[in-house]
Amino acid sequence: MTVHSDVAHNNKNYLNHETTLWSWLSTVDHKRIGLMYLFTITGFFIVGGLAALTMRMELASSGADFLSPEQYNVLFTLHGAIMIFLFIVPGIPATMGNFLLPLMIGAKDVAFPRLNLLSFYIYVVGAFMALYALLNPIDTGWTFYAPYSMQTQSAVILMTGAAFVLGFSSILTGLNFVVTVHRLRCPGMTWDRLPVFVWGLYATAVIQTLATPVIGMTLLLLIVERWLGVGIFNPAMGGDPVLFEHLFWFYSHPVVYIMVLPAFGVVGEIIPVFSRKPLFGYKMVCYASVAIALVGFLVWAHHMLVAGISDTSAIYFSVITFGVAIPTAIKVFNWVSTMYKGSISFDTPMLYAMGFVFLFMIAGTTGIYLATLAVDVFYHDTYFVVAHFHYTIQGGAVIGLIAALHFWFPKMTGKMYNEPLAKIAFVLVFVGFNLTFLPQFVLGMEGMPRRYFDYLPEFEGLHRLSSYGAVVNGFGYTFALLNLLGAWIFSKKQAPANPYNSLSLEWNTQSPPIHENFEETPSVTDYPYAYGTPVEGGGH
């Protein structure tokens, strides 16, 4: 596949194709839908982030400062539910996936464009339901564990109803993407020539489609319990609250792979480009994506190791969780091997991608700690867990999203962002994030429980450090997003079709793309990672 730097550019693109408000609200163009998702989830990221900052302000010193315990419970519920259901689960697939999937496979749109728009509106309805519920307020934590979720006087039915609605959006998007990858690849685009981002999106879409109905039904059962007094999870009525946890985590573990598999794909796209080297072990990276998705269904009760499950199942889940680390480790080895002896340029996307690898290493290894039964007895429900999952979700999925936003910014907007400012923002994000969460590992090891409004004075030093980090982290994200937004609005420089000389198909069309994506249906003859070979660029 040759690098096309000579793509004809005309001034018509998907952004100015039609410009009325109705043309946006009724669009079935996957690129516009992706943008609409992007603005919406960014808004919720800010809301969830503010909730986190408020909590960290309270936690900066021991003793009650300005929040009551009840308010604190509401805040961590708000933070978790918004970040998970409204931000990171739609996350990369709904935004970058929607925008890029058809472009990367050489198609004009996804399989079911109108269903795509419906998915977006279902998401919006669910999001408003969730916001209304969260402000009403709700204090169960985002996990809605029985029996408290059946007894508490807060808006549980509304919130779980919102999650049910949001689940529908996720299912329909996943379904759409699976059919798209099976049916809409352009001539020559065989499975072994798909970009790894597409493989990641495909594996994610499979999980989205098949795992989400389980949480939908489980939350529906919770609603039926509260509303009609059926006793499925209520121990006072012969029910088993651990059954709720089983059914809840059956989805909620695979969901973390929904969050992070696309981010793996993003990193797999960025590293070869900025190392000018083929992705090491391309086939293994693809198989690893599928393996993670499949094995991810087998490990859910490692979230319940000390919840009262039998020793037999605890041992099984602990051991199999060690297994799920293997395909992820394979990917990490492949990324690092790609960089080895490459010609590396430290553009902002590459900085975020390398940051991802570093942060996810910490995330993955601390996960192994937690999977170890004897260790989990002490670490479960402490700040160790909080630090671990923030390293995976924020250090993983969110960093992946920001990396993607920077990498494909020229493609989406037709502009280039300010590179030095973007690098400064990266440093703030990276330093702030580590400052926030590294101390939390130590806090956890010293016994600080999670979801606690207050703590013993001896924990205060590390908590204060963590709160400082949160401020720096928040500032960094704000800076990065404002930089991108500012470039989009104010920059006058037209971005080339392929500013990084990348080999995948989305760069083989102008920036921003025309409404139909490509002037003519493309065809491919090789996989998109043949960097450093004589074919590339035709004259480098």
């Binding site: 049916r183 352009c186 098949l210 009262g308 249906t521």
Partner: protein, 124 residues
């Protein structure tokens, strides 16, 4: 599988199944239903714990012929087969692993503690 292959000519979209097959499946389903009821209700056919297994096996035979012939699964491509079977695997997984939990709990049995500190703790 590309989008512009030679499939796009008039006529042959899906497989047309002969009426006889539909009729036979209908008869088979009704017969199997009668058998299910008979095996469950007849006093001579009580296999104790196996009753439910037998009923589920017969139900699965019925489900298979509905899927294969009424739903044309027999004539579908591998991808459709994959997504027809995947959810069943997940159901088996869900049930199987949850049954690794509840039946093996030992809540009613006292746990032996070999903890040298336990005695000291009890004296506190």
């Amino acid at each position: 599988m590309s989008s512009h292959s030679h499939e796009d000519h008039h006529g042959e979209l899906g497989h047309i199944v002969p009426f006889a097959i539909y009729r036979n499946v209908l008869i088979g389903l009704l017969v199997l239903t009668v058998i299910t009821v008979w095996v469950a209700k007849a006093p001579s056919m009580d296999f104790g714990n196996l009753n439910i297994a037998i009923a589920m096996v017969i139900a699965s035979v019925k489900a298979s012929i509905v899927a294969l012939y009424f739903m044309h699964l027999k004539f579908e491509d591998k991808t459709t087969w994959l997504y027809a079977f995947f959810p069943i695997m997940l159901l088996v997984l869900m049930m199987g692993l949850i049954f690794l939990d509840n039946p093996f709990r030992r809540a009613d049995q006292p746990v032996e503690v070999n903890d040298p500190l336990a005695e000291q703790l009890q004296q506190i």
